[in-house]
């Protein structure tokens, strides 16, 4: 039975090959093209909020990019240029809704920011005793993910707050050793992304060393795109994956 179906496969394949060879001189079949209205090209819109999860009082960077649009706004914020960056400080969880309108129609994009109430324990994090937070919770409240631009391993200016907070926490908790994981989004090669994740984690390690943390407390590992935090193929999800993440190195 298997052999029969294999024979059939071979026959079908050879017929398919003949068909391919037969059209070798012709233009290859045209891929389906997105239909655009006759009035102009359809606009596109992308919006990211970084980080997408914060503690109340922290800042979020909204960055957006649009094409083929002449009216661009985020609801609740107002009109905007075609691309740019804006810092906001939401106090409650918020969905930012970007609308781009042009001659060819309209496009929109949404980025959600989850806001946690500020933990009281942060102020006494280095106390250690009588604290309701576990060591891991304290660690993660103080040492937070650092996010990166597309194909970049440069620590962005908007990460300086998170880095100083992490350095301060690690300076006052000198027994903690840290594993810095470098992560990438799903695009590109597994192998090359491992080197990119390596460079991201190394950049963060260098920044912490410059802030006074002993290098032998900081271990670096790249996960490339092997351990994604978020698995959707959207820019918002990709941004969450382009990061250096921290854990206690036990």
């Amino acid at each position: 039975m298997i052999a029969k179906s294999r024979l059939l496969t071979s026959l079908v394949l050879s017929v398919a090959v003949l068909a391919v060879v037969g059209c070798g001189k012709k233009e290859k079949p045209v891929a389906p093209v997105e239909t655009a209205p006759a009035t102009g090209p359809a606009p596109t819109a992308q919006l990211t909020a970084t980080p997408s999860s914060i503690t109340a009082g922290d800042q979020v960077v909204l960055s957006w990019r649009t094409t083929n649009a002449n009216t661009i706004f985020i609801e609740g914020i107002g009109d905007l240029p075609s691309s740019g960056v804006k810092t906001v400080t939401p106090t409650v969880s918020t969905s930012y809704h970007l609308v781009a309108r042009g001659d060819g129609g309209s496009a929109d994009a949404t980025a959600r920011v989850t806001v946690e109430a500020a933990p009281v324990a942060v102020a006494v994090a280095n106390d250690g005793t009588g604290n309701s937070m576990s060591a891991d919770e304290q660690f993660h409240a103080n040492v937070q993910d650092i996010f990166f631009d597309y194909d970049s391993y440069d620590v962005r200016p908007d990460a300086s707050g998170a880095l100083s907070k992490a350095a301060a926490y690690l300076a006052s908790n000198s027994s903690i050793r840290v594993l810095i994981g470098g992560y990438c989004d799903e695009r590109g090669s597994n192998e090359y992304n491992l080197t990119l994740g390596q460079s991201r984690a190394s950049s963060v390690k260098q920044a912490l060393v410059q802030a006074g943390i002993a290098p032998d407390r900081l271990r670096v590992v790249s996960y490339g795109k092997e351990k994604p935090f978020c698995t959707e193929s959207t820019e918002e999800c990709w941004q969450q994956n382009r990061r250096a993440g921290f854990s206690i190195d036990r």
């Binding site: 029969k4 071979s10 990019r65 080197t195």
Partner: protein
């Protein structure tokens, strides 16, 4: 229109190069030299179904497996125009006395060559007596006559067909050995963790090799088929690990551990050296060492270097991926780190594989890479000397990790369509693409050297 013309002129250039390669060996058969170019006219080959001999009830199953495997091997070799089974003259020839050569030589079969033979069992052994006859030379037709035998199993039926196919290809293929007995190693997550798997070149006999749990990547088989190098994540980070296919177990490779960031190993063509990416000094650089791990040294000096591949012809050059100027590009250097040449002129270029004759690099390239850019990630082949390239895949998913077959006529690669990664194979000119794996998610194929 110009682009189309350029595309076709490149196809022609590559086919020409392949044809030149195929015609080069001095011991090529006479009729190849007097025939027209292999690239333009394939050899018209008939493969008769094997004649079953004896009353063994298992023979029909062996015969079915043998016939299908032989026809598939010859069809996918890239150098034959196979006579459809329905065009074969009546009868099942099992010996030179039984072959109806005029029937094969004339319409509709119109074969230049005919392969035929008889399959029999005796004392637990399966035997195939096979012949290859020149249908246009009835006076002295025999090109090949050989007996193949091994323990009688279905796997053996396939193996005997592979061996017969390789012998036919060795005689008609311009002196290049066939690939019917080669293996493809790859990564699969079908057990839940990413492990190294192996299969026959035609996708049959898929089986797991490593069982480490976690994530293992980038399998590279040694040229003598004895060891499998790959990278795997453990408590100390990423290491280059070794699996012995002779011992069927992991063997130590201490040189591949330091720093916790060791990726993408590559064997030199003589099996004497390994190149790999390591961040043991901080940044990901290309390192080389002896196969034993000795003589370890660093070749590159900028960030983000990965995916080395040796020129298997000379073992004197390495191509690799570097992000030293931003997006990753393909570079070549001498194996001492000197004479660095950038090969790609932009976009996002990754995963080089050096062709067995040393003449071409195949790699994955997104020529219009960027946020919102329309580029696709496709497989390309580039002529090293001229930097002229040919796009081999078009408009079909996201393609990565090309790996050349040892005859240089085929390329196996990873294609992701809608989030499902699978292993595909094609001829080196991009034609005859088909999927080899039909299960789970499969990645990073590597074709054995023999």
């Amino acid at each position: 229109m110009t682009a189309l013309f350029r595309y076709h002129s490149r196809v022609f250039a590559l086919m020409l190069a392949l044809a030149v390669l195929a015609l080069t060996p001095a011991h090529a058969q006479d009729w190849i030299r007097i025939g027209s170019s292999l690239s333009n006219q394939r050899i018209r080959l008939g493969a008769a179904d094997a004649k079953p001999v004896g009353a063994d009830p298992e023979i029909p199953a062996f015969k079915a497996s043998f016939d299908a495997t032989l026809f598939n091997d010859l069809s996918s070799a890239g150098i034959f125009d196979m006579v459809s089974k329905s065009f074969a003259p009546p009868g099942t020839p099992g010996s030179p006395q039984e072959i109806n050569l005029p029937g094969w030589a004339t319409e509709p079969a119109n074969a230049s060559m005919v392969a035929f033979g008889a399959l029999s069992t005796a004392n637990g052994k399966l035997t195939f007596n096979g012949w290859l006859f020149d249908a246009k030379n009835p006076g002295s037709p025999q090109v090949l006559g050989k007996q193949y035998t091994d323990n009688a199993t279905l796997d053996t039926a396939r193996l005997l067909a592979h061996k017969f196919a390789d012998d036919i290809i060795a005689r008609l293929g311009g002196g290049l050995n066939g690939i019917a007995e080669t293996k493809i190693y790859f990564v699969s997550s079908r057990t839940g963790s990413k492990e190294i798997w192996a299969m026959d070149y035609d996708g049959q006999n898929q089986h797991i090799v490593t069982k480490l749990g976690g994530v293992s990547l980038s399998p590279r088989i040694s040229p003598d088929n004895s060891r499998l190098a790959f990278s795997s994540i453990g408590k100390e980070g990423w290491s280059i690990r070794m699996y012995s296919l002779d011992l069927n177990r992991m063997v130590a490779f201490p040189a591949g551990i330091a720093g916790g960031s060791n990726f993408s190993p590559a064997w030199s063509g003589d099996g004497a050296k390994l190149a790999f990416s390591s961040a043991r000094t901080g940044d990901s650089e290309i390192w080389v060492c002896d196969a034993s791990g000795g003589n370890l040294r660093k070749l590159t000096a900028f960030r983000n270097n990965s995916s080395p591949t040796w020129n298997p012809r000379t073992n004197g050059q390495i191509a690799w991926v570097s992000g030293r100027t931003g997006l990753p590009q393909i570079y070549t250097m001498d194996s001492d780190g000197g004479n660095i040449v950038r090969m790609t002129d932009g976009g996002y270029a990754i995963s080089p594989s050096w062709s067995p004759n040393g003449q071409f690099l195949s790699f994955s390239w997104n020529r219009k890479y960027g946020p919102g850019a329309p580029g696709g990630q496709d497989i390309y082949a580039m002529d090293i000397a001229s930097l002229k390239w040919l796009q081999l895949t078009h408009d079909s998913g996201s393609n990565d990790f090309p790996s050349w077959s040892p005859d240089g006529r085929h390329i196996v690669f990873e294609r992701a369509i809608g989030g499902r990664n699978a292993i595909w194979t094609m001829l080196a000119d991009g034609t005859e693409q088909h999927e080899l794996t039909h299960s789970g998610r499969d990645f990073m194929p590597n074709w054995s050297w023999k």
